[in-house]
C-alpha cells in the first residue's frame, strides 16, 4: 500500500466528507472517505444507488467542493482549482454532448478551449475518432446517432485533451448487453493504450470485476474495502462487500487461534478449519465466516466432509449446478459444482450429504 504519501503520483482523497444542505435535512453523501488512486490505474467505484459514487467524481472534477478533507493530484491540492483548470475530464452518465455541434466539433471542443493550434486540433480529433471508430459519422449531429455511438463520442471528447485522469460515471449503463460487452473490452483497451488513469463508476459487480485493476466498494457514503477484484471477491472484509459481490454462504464460527492473517476457527458443527483474517485490528471470539459456493463441493463419504446436511434442492444452470443443503442449525448452504460430461446425476433430494470446503475457502468478516 502506498496510501497517504503526499508525493505519490495519482489522486489522493484524504478524509473527504460532503454534506448537502437540502431544504429539510442535511444529506451526508460522503463520510470521511480516504483512498489513493494510482497513476495509470483502472480504478472502479462500485456500490448501490445513492452511495455517493457520483458525488466523489464531482468532487474530483471540481463541480462540488468537499465539506471537509482534501483531494490531491500528483501531490498538489486541487481545492483552489476550478473545474476548467483541472487536468481531469469526465464521461457523463447521460453523455451531455453539445446538441448544437457535430460529432467532430464536440470532440474538438476541449482542445479549442485549451487554445491548441488548428492543425494539432485537426490531427488529434482525427486520431480520437479513429480510436473510437466514429470517423464515418464525424459530421453528424449528435442527436442523430445511436446511444452506443453517443457514448463513444463522449469518450473521444473527454480523451482528446489527454487529461491526467478520466472520470467515467456509469458510461455503459444505457447500452444493451452486447454493445456493453464490446464497450467494456474497448474501454479496457483504451485505458491500456493511453495510459490515462481511469476512475470508473458502476453498480454492476461483474463489470467492476472484469475491467478493474482495483475496486473500491462503497456503501452509504463510505468506502468499505479497496482491493484487486480477486481480493474483493475472495477475501471480502465486510458482510456488505461479500453480499454485494457474487453469491455467498455465511457460517457462524469462533476463533480458536490466530496469527499472520490466518486463524483456526471452530464451526458450529464442531469442525475446526483454517480461515483468512481481514486486514487490520485483532478479532477474537464469535465471528462470521463467508464461503463462496464454488469453493465447496459435495461428498457422500461422511469421513471426508467438513460438515453435513440434508440436500434440499438442486438447480441446474447449464455450465454448473447449485445444490442447496440445509445444515443442522437450520441455515441454508449453497454449493456450486461444474457440470462435466459423464458425471452422472447421482445426488438425490433429501439425502444426507457431506460438504467439503476447499483449502483457504473460508474468510472471516470484520462485522
Amino acid at each position: 500500500m502506498r496510501d497517504g504519501g503526499g508525493t505519490t503520483k495519482g489522486i489522493a482523497v484524504r478524509g473527504v466528507s460532503k454534506v448537502f444542505d437540502a431544504a429539510a435535512a442535511a444529506v451526508r453523501a460522503l463520510d470521511d472517505v480516504s483512498v489513493t488512486i494510482h497513476e495509470n490505474e483502472f480504478f472502479t467505484l462500485l456500490g448501490p444507488s445513492g452511495c455517493g459514487k457520483t458525488t466523489l467524481l464531482r468532487l474530483i472534477a471540481g463541480f462540488e467542493s468537499p465539506s471537509a478533507g482534501e483531494i490531491l493530484l500528483d501531490g498538489a491540492p486541487l481545492a483552489h482549482l476550478p473545474p476548467f483548470r483541472r487536468p481531469v475530464n469526465t464521461v457523463f452518465q447521460n453523455y451531455a454532448l453539445f446538441p448544437h455541434m457535430s460529432v467532430m466539433e464536440n470532440v474538438a471542443f476541449g482542445l479549442e478551449m485549451l487554445g491548441k493550434p488548428k492543425r494539432e486540433i485537426e490531427k488529434t480529433v482525427n486520431d480520437m475518432l479513429r480510436l473510437v471508430r466514429m470517423e464515418e459519422l464525424r459530421d453528424r449531429a449528435t442527436n442523430k446517432i445511436s446511444g452506443g455511438q453517443q457514448q463513444r463520442v463522449a469518450l473521444a471528447r473527454a480523451l482528446a485533451p489527454r487529461p491526467k485522469v478520466l472520470l467515467l460515471d456509469e458510461p455503459l449503463s444505457a447500452l444493451d448487453l452486447k454493445l456493453r460487452k464490446e464497450m467494456q473490452i474497448e474501454l479496457k483497451r483504451l485505458q491500456k493504450d493511453t495510459g490515462i488513469t481511469f476512475v470508473f463508476v458502476t453498480h454492476d459487480q461483474e463489470e467492476a470485476l472484469t475491467m478493474s485493476d482495483r475496486v473500491a466498494v462503497m456503501s452509504q457514503g463510505k468506502i468499505l474495502q479497496v482491493g484487486s477484484p480477486r481480493e474483493i471477491y475472495e477475501h471480502p472484509a465486510k458482510r456488505f462487500v461479500a453480499d454485494f459481490i457474487g453469491e455467498t454462504n455465511y457460517l457462524e464460527a469462533e476463533i480458536v487461534a490466530s496469527g499472520h492473517g490466518q486463524a483456526q476457527i471452530r464451526l458450529s458443527s464442531g469442525a475446526q478449519i483454517a480461515a483468512s483474517l481481514p486486514e487490520g485490528g485483532r478479532l477474537t471470539g464469535k465471528v462470521t465466516v463467508v464461503v463462496r459456493p464454488e469453493h465447496a463441493s459435495l461428498t457422500l463419504d461422511a469421513a471426508k466432509a467438513t460438515f453435513s446436511g440434508r440436500l434440499e434442492n438442486i438447480v441446474y444452470f447449464g455450465t454448473d449446478t447449485h445444490y442447496h443443503v440445509r445444515l443442522a442449525d437450520g441455515s441454508l448452504f449453497t454449493v456450486r459444482m461444474q457440470n462435466a460430461r459423464g458425471h452422472e446425476e447421482t445426488d438425490r433430494i433429501n439425502a444426507e450429504v457431506g460438504v467439503i470446503l476447499a483449502e483457504n475457502a473460508a474468510q472471516v468478516l470484520r462485522d
Binding site: A61, F63, F84, N89, T90, F98, H100, F109, A158, P161
Partner: protein, 272 residues
C-alpha cells in the same frame, strides 16, 4: 358493435352540439373585419365603405405622406431599440432567475419582472407621464429616450417568458461539461449556453418588437409634442377625416407583423 364503439369513445369537444357554429363565429369575428380592412385599402374611391374599384392609390398616398413616413420611422427606431434592450435585460433576468438555487422570494422576483403583465397599461402610462414630466422639467431633455425607456420596460416580460422557458428546458449538465472541457465561465456561456438559448432569445426579441411597434396607450401618454409613432398617428387621423389611407397603413403594419412572426416561426422550427 357500433354502439359499443361509440360508448367507448373518449370525450371530444369537437362532438359537442354547436361546436362548429361557435368555431365558425369566432373565426368570422376574428378575420372578417381584417379582410374588409385590407380589401378597402385597395378602394379607388374616398370611402371606406363604398367600393368603387381597385387601385393602389392609397398606398401611394401614404408613401408620399411625410407624416406617415416620419411616424413609421420613429416607430421602427423605438421598436428596434426597445426590443434590443428588453431582450438583453430579459436574458440576464432569465439567467439570474434560473441559474440559481431556488430561494425564498423567487416568486416575488418573478412577479416584479412580470409587473407590466399585471398592472393595467393605463396606470403604467399615467405613472410614466407624471414621472417623466418631473424629469423633463428637471433636465429639459425631451428626446426619444423616454419612449424607448418606457417601451423597454413593458417589453421585458414578453421577452423574458420565452427565454426562461428555453433555459428551463436546457440541460445544466451541458454547462458542466463545457467547464469540464476547460471552458471558462464566459466561454461556456458564449459557446454553449448562448447558442442553445438563441431560439428563445429570438422569440423574445420578435415578440418584444411586435408589442412595441403596436403600442398606443403608453406611447400616447409618454410622447412629447410631435413624437408621433405610427399607431398614435393613425389614432389622430381617425379623429379627423377617414380615408382608405388608414386602411393602407394598417394593411402594411399587418403585413410587417405577419412577416416577422412567420420568419421567426420558420427560424425556430429549424433550430430544434
Amino acid at each position: 358493435m357500433a354502439r359499443g364503439a361509440r360508448l367507448r369513445r373518449p370525450f371530444s369537444i369537437k362532438r359537442q352540439p354547436g361546436f362548429t357554429a361557435i368555431a365558425l363565429f369566432c373565426f368570422f369575428a376574428l378575420y372578417a373585419p381584417i379582410i374588409v380592412l385590407v380589401v378597402y385599402s385597395f378602394n379607388s374611391g374616398n370611402s371606406i365603405a363604398v367600393w368603387e374599384g381597385f387601385s393602389w392609390r392609397w398606398y401611394r398616398s401614404a408613401w408620399e405622406n411625410d407624416l406617415v413616413i416620419e411616424a413609421a420611422t420613429r416607430s421602427l427606431i423605438i421598436a428596434l431599440c426597445a426590443s434590443l434592450a428588453a431582450t438583453t435585460l430579459a436574458t440576464m433576468a432569465a439567467l439570474g432567475t434560473t441559474r440559481t438555487r431556488p430561494y425564498r422570494g423567487l416568486t416575488v422576483v418573478y412577479a416584479l419582472i412580470n409587473q407590466p403583465l399585471m398592472v393595467p397599461e393605463i396606470v403604467t402610462g399615467v405613472a410614466l407621464l407624471i414621472f417623466f414630466a418631473l424629469i423633463k422639467v428637471a433636465t429639459g431633455y425631451t428626446g426619444l429616450l423616454y419612449l424607448i425607456t418606457a417601451h423597454t420596460a413593458f417589453c421585458i416580460p414578453f421577452a423574458y417568458l420565452p427565454i426562461r422557458a428555453r433555459l428551463e428546458g436546457m440541460d445544466l449538465a451541458l454547462e458542466t461539461a463545457a467547464a469540464d472541457l476547460y471552458a471558462t465561465p464566459w466561454r461556456a456561456f458564449r459557446r454553449v449556453t448562448l447558442p442553445l438559448l438563441w431560439p428563445g432569445i429570438m422569440a423574445g426579441g420578435v415578440l418584444a418588437f411586435v408589442i412595441s411597434l403596436d403600442d398606443v396607450v403608453i406611447t400616447e401618454l409618454v410622447k412629447s409634442a410631435g413624437q408621433e409613432t405610427l399607431p398614435t398617428y393613425m389614432l389622430g387621423q381617425l379623429r379627423r377625416v377617414i380615408t382608405p389611407e388608414i386602411n393602407a397603413i394598417s394593411s402594411v403594419l399587418l403585413a410587417i407583423s405577419v412577416l416577422i412572426v412567420s420568419v421567426f416561426f420558420a427560424f425556430s422550427r429549424k433550430g430544434d
